[in-house]
Amino acid sequence: GAGVSQSPSNKVTEKGKDVELRCDPISGHTALYWYRQSLGQGLEFLIYFQGNSAPDKSGLPSDRFSAERTGGSVSTLTIQRTQQEDSAVYLCASSLGVSSHSYEQYFGPGTRLTVT
């Protein structure tokens, strides 16, 4: 079946511009996660959505970062006033649920963001 998809695959933007990154989770998966993979920091958790519950935003590095998930499916990660340190690969993952039997996270191919 279809996996997690992300768009765009690559994004180059100028410092100070806003960007939107999109994630389409696996159909039927109720949990959705955003991570960031950068050379200096490795893989870092950003935000987590589960069903209709309030998202866990504890990993967002600053208030320039926000995310939403519409209709319990597609998610958009928005970075406002981008900075060079935002350059990274942004990964989306989804899982069927969050119980021990449904917790496995499936990752998308990522969006490589380069801020010039």
Partner: protein, 115 residues
């Protein structure tokens, strides 16, 4: 806060050599443990996972890992590596608690297998 340490940044092996990649975590409670692999140009894939039960877990492609609670370790092993195992390997942990579903990853270990 929980953290994950992977001891080796880059490991170089010849084909048929045995592999062991170290992973230690810091968290005193109940944890769930994972190894993910990222092949060149591909996205992260789950190799294996431990939730409970037998501490020796077997994954795909002949990999296995052993959870040793007293050592806070979850080392990855493979008896005989192949060139196709060249990839980056990430250990990850989440702890069993309300709202704690995000993965905390180690920095990763690059494995290069020489034919």
């Amino acid at each position: 806060a929980q953290s994950v340490s992977q001891h080796n940044h880059h490991v170089i092996l010849s084909e048929a050599a045995s592999l062991e990649l170290g992973c230690n975590y810091s968290y005193g409670g109940t944890v769930n443990l994972f190894w993910y692999v990222q092949y060149p140009g591909q996205h992260l894939q789950l190799l294996l996972k431990y939730f409970s039960g037998d501490p020796l877990v077997k994954g795909i492609k002949g990999f296995e890992a052993e959870f040793i609670k007293s050592k806070f370790s979850f080392n990855l092993r493979k008896p005989s590596v192949q060139w196709s195992d060249t990839a980056e390997y990430f250990c990850a942990v989440t702890h069993s608690g309300a709202g704690s579903y995000q993965l905390t990853f180690g920095k990763g270990t690059k494995l290069s297998v020489i034919p």
